[in-house]
Symmetry: C2
Subunit: 197 residues, 2 copies
DNA sequence: CGGTTTCTCATACAGACGTACTATAACAGC
DNA sequence: GCTGTTATAGTACGTCTGTATGAGAAACCG
């Protein structure tokens, strides 16, 4: 086996190029040629590592997802481990505050449409995201049940709301209609109401 | 002035074609040729009424926004006019339940990215959406202040949360990770907590 | 050291893209 | 009825797209 090359690393460099281009000029500008130029390689290398464009975009989505989870984990590790703090970290990880998180949120939205359209044609396709969100919901619910909660809080209903709140504020912060501070304040205010301090 | 033609109506037919194509195959498939074929007219007619592709997409976004507002108004008119009911209608209008609302939500997301990327390059550009959301927030706040609210409710903080909740649940329902019933229940549950019944 | 596999590049291709251009049909006003 | 504006269609152009192909460099195995 000649010329060992770290395929995963190479692929990641290329999907990173996709993200940078998308951030700068939109997903429509992420063509094979543009991606190759951005990464400083030949067009064929993109073909070689992904085969087709669909493969490139799928890998990009996957990598962005992994990055987001990593970022979430580092947020959680920075807390004291209380349910309240973990949920706060979870929700705040959706808020785009720096270049990286802004990129993650943008890629999420940019790739979202294609997934939805695809899923409409074939509802059985792409179960990844569905289970992903189900895991999100389960995690939120689990943390809520750790408590201590206020008396009249319905954990399951609140879990649904919190799961939707993350992307909701994320979108508004991304397009500049809400400041990150306001998003944080909203999250904190709501959690304050749920938990006994 | 020869051959009077209702320009607005013609333009709307064409932007409707854009929406149908996007729903079926994604925004990337909404090319001049495809749009012309979908509407049953010549390619040049699309050029004639919008000039450039950017013009076509801008008009599409505008039309979709108008449709959404119309739908929201009809939702509100079906209520008893109480603050609680109006807010419920407002939030539920984001939930895609039929072909039309699903299309509206999808178009919203599909066109969102380009707006964000554009706004990043020139933050002063595209103030439409910003004021749009500010109006949304103002409306929600206004309704909240009509009350009657529970004792310890911070109207401004809740207004921010509710404004983010609409698109949040809308996204999840659109991609099938949440049922419309669940979204409705979440909205109702939260409003129940805010208002004195 | 030769051979095989892995990698990289450059180029070619057919098709689709947005747009410009020209010509023709339809109506309004004199 | 003629004239000029408006609307529509058809087509051509240059560019860019994703992908296929062939040729060459690099490294491991025997």
């Amino acid at each position: 086996m000649p010329k060992k090359v770290d395929h995963d690393a190479r692929r990641r460099e290329l999907t990173d190029a996709v993200c940078r281009i998308t951030l700068r000029a939109g997903l429509g500008s992420a063509t094979f040629r543009q991606v190759a130029a951005e990464a400083g390689v030949s067009v064929n290398q993109v073909q070689y590592y992904f085969g087709t464009k669909e493969g490139l975009l799928e890998a990009t989505q996957e990598h962005v997802g992994e990055r987001s989870i990593e970022r979430l984990m580092s947020w959680i590790e920075a807390t004291d481990g209380s349910a309240r703090a973990v949920l706060g970290a979870f929700l705040k990880s959706f808020v785009p505050v720096d270049e990286e998180s802004r990129m993650a949120m943008l890629m999420y939205v940019a790739l979202y449409t294609e997934g939805v359209v695809e899923a409409m044609g074939d509802p059985s396709a792409n179960p990844t995201r569905k289970t992903e969100v189900e895991m999100m919901y389960a995690t939120v619910l689990e943390q809520l049940q750790r408590g201590p909660l206020q008396k009249d809080v319905d954990a399951e209903a609140e879990a649904t709301l919190l799961t939707a709140l993350g992307p909701g504020v994320g979108l508004y912060v991304l397009d500049g209609t809400m400041t990150a501070e306001s998003a944080y304040a909203t999250v904190d205010h709501h959690l304050d109401r749920l938990f006994v301090t």
